[in-house]
Amino acid sequence: MRFIDEYRDAGLARKLASRIAAISTRPARLMEFCGGHTVAIMRNGIRQLLPPTVEMFSGPGCPVCVTANADIDRSITLAGLPGLIITTFGDMVRVPGSYATLQKCRASGGDIRIVYSIQDALQIARGNPGRQVVFIAVGFETTAPTIAMAVKQADREGLQNFFVHCLIKMTPPAMKALLDLGEIMLNGIICPGHVTAIIGTQPYESYARDYGVACVVAGFEPVDILQAVAMLVEQIESGRPRVEIAYTRGVRPEGNLKALEVMDEVFETTDAEWRGIGRIPCSGYKLKDSFVRFDASAAFPVEVPPAREAAGCRCGEVLRGIIRPPDCRLFRKVCTPENPVGPCMVSSEGSCAAYYQYGGIDE
């Protein structure tokens, strides 16, 4: 298949791996921010191809995983309101909140529907004019433009029964928060390909400049990732950290101006709660006043009991990259994809789920 096979080429991958091994002399401590990268790295066994000087840490780039329990609890409470239809992406349905899951709420009668896109949620709202439809929006900057477009569309159509519970988060503030925490002394970041396709590379400039961290934007195929690692190692060896794009077929330095424009029209930034990191200023999106009538939290004010964390769950540390999933005592023993204790075991992009599904050889 064109545009895929060339990025999974065994010969090319081996060449890049030997190049990395040949040039790497100093420790390279790299974090892949994005959950999509974590899955690709595990699925393809990329760590096995890297020399011992190169260490990879998984970051907080799984939108379901970083959603705080309080926000999940609020979604579940909304789902319990009579007459409401809750629409959301599949992973959210199974993710445990403090007391329940949307899945359990559905089993006891809540009308919760899995959708593939917010467009499906709009369609459900159009088809059920007598009922109120809430879309639970989790995601990063990649998802934000589609949410913004849907809200504009609902506005144009005058839909009165469509609402968004907006939990969309921004990538750069979280990266900066991790660098400020300084727990893992990174010297390189594999920047998320799809997020950067929207926001461009400008937000990363300060990481290279102020923190001395090499930044390379990567695609999601094995060759893409190995190429990004090679570029990061080169930067680290040369002592000249900067922002580069390995994923040139997907990303332009300025990002996607049209998407940014529509996001700017609909959203403004707000403080957001991140699992494992805590409250990060200006790291989330909320609907601007002009679209506030679509805001589910304004339309349905609900009392949510205080959030609590599952005993023994170390998702927070996994998301900060300071431990690997097998370091958690619950991993594979108590916490499995069938009975997940924390969100990182639920989401298809979660580190724990990726290690569970594809790891195991080196554990």
């Binding site: 593939y116 995601g139 799809h194």
Partner: protein, 334 residues
Amino acid sequence: MSEKILLAHGSGSKLSHDLVEKILVPSLTNPILAQLDDAAVFPLSGRLAFTTDSYVVNPIFFPGGDIGRLAVCGTVNDLSTSGARPLYLSLALIIEEGLELDDLRRVIESVRNTAAEAGVQIVTGDTKVVNRGKADRLFINTAGIGLIQEGVDISGSHVRPGDKIILSGGIGEHGIAVMSRREGLEFKVPVVSDCAPLNRMVAGMLKASNNIHSLRDPTRGGLASTLSEFALQSGVGIIIEEGKIPVHDGVRGACELLGLDPLYIANEGKMVAAVAPEDAVAVLASMQGNRYGTQAALIGEVTAEHKGRVIMKTRIGASRIVDLPAGEILPRIC
């Protein structure tokens, strides 16, 4: 207005008689069924294989097949995995009130054609109609009996170190075809279900070799589940090569788009075999000579190491574990 199935069609009344005698029996007829007694009666002796399965696919018509074809193929293929020659099937229908009579006719037609293709007979059956909302249009159960030839001894627990693993063709086609129809997804390269009766292909394989140790059709849970089951049941390790597993371009495209792994997607017309190494080439050739095995490929081998585990050599030369699928398979979200 088109005719629909009514509750009365299942009540034992004149309408139910009509349904059986005008739609079901004429289409499926054979001397055993035509007796119309409560039990089918026929002579049979030897080692028998007996299996049953229920079919609840939604939608009931999908690219490449329908619930009728599926119900015949599923049971025929389950019998075939024991090395049996499938002979007789039962057919039980649970129909939701309101199903279009024409849809039922289409399904029965498909049952007939598929049974004819496989060379099996529907010898007994049952029909029930349930209230609207108590079933999803049409559920089917089939059970089947087959005869196992002298000397054939095939089981998921007979896989041995050194065996070669052969797969009869591209994976994931049924699951993707059904999902794309259900979700209204259209792909540039259309994906058609592989739903097919594999008994003739298996008969050919058994002719080509006396050393086929295990056979299984990788349905729900896909190739990954079947291989994991082999490894666990037989207490062996299995090593497969990602690059050797055939995957149709449409399936790959759909999986890329939806964030799914073809290894875990259902098939309804594929067979996986563990064969003694000396016979692998002959079995492979015999599969490739059948219309449902033209893409058959040798995808891996069995070892005494990594007991109970399946290891895949990835395209880029690393290795990873292939585990049983975990939970529901859901689309990715960003």
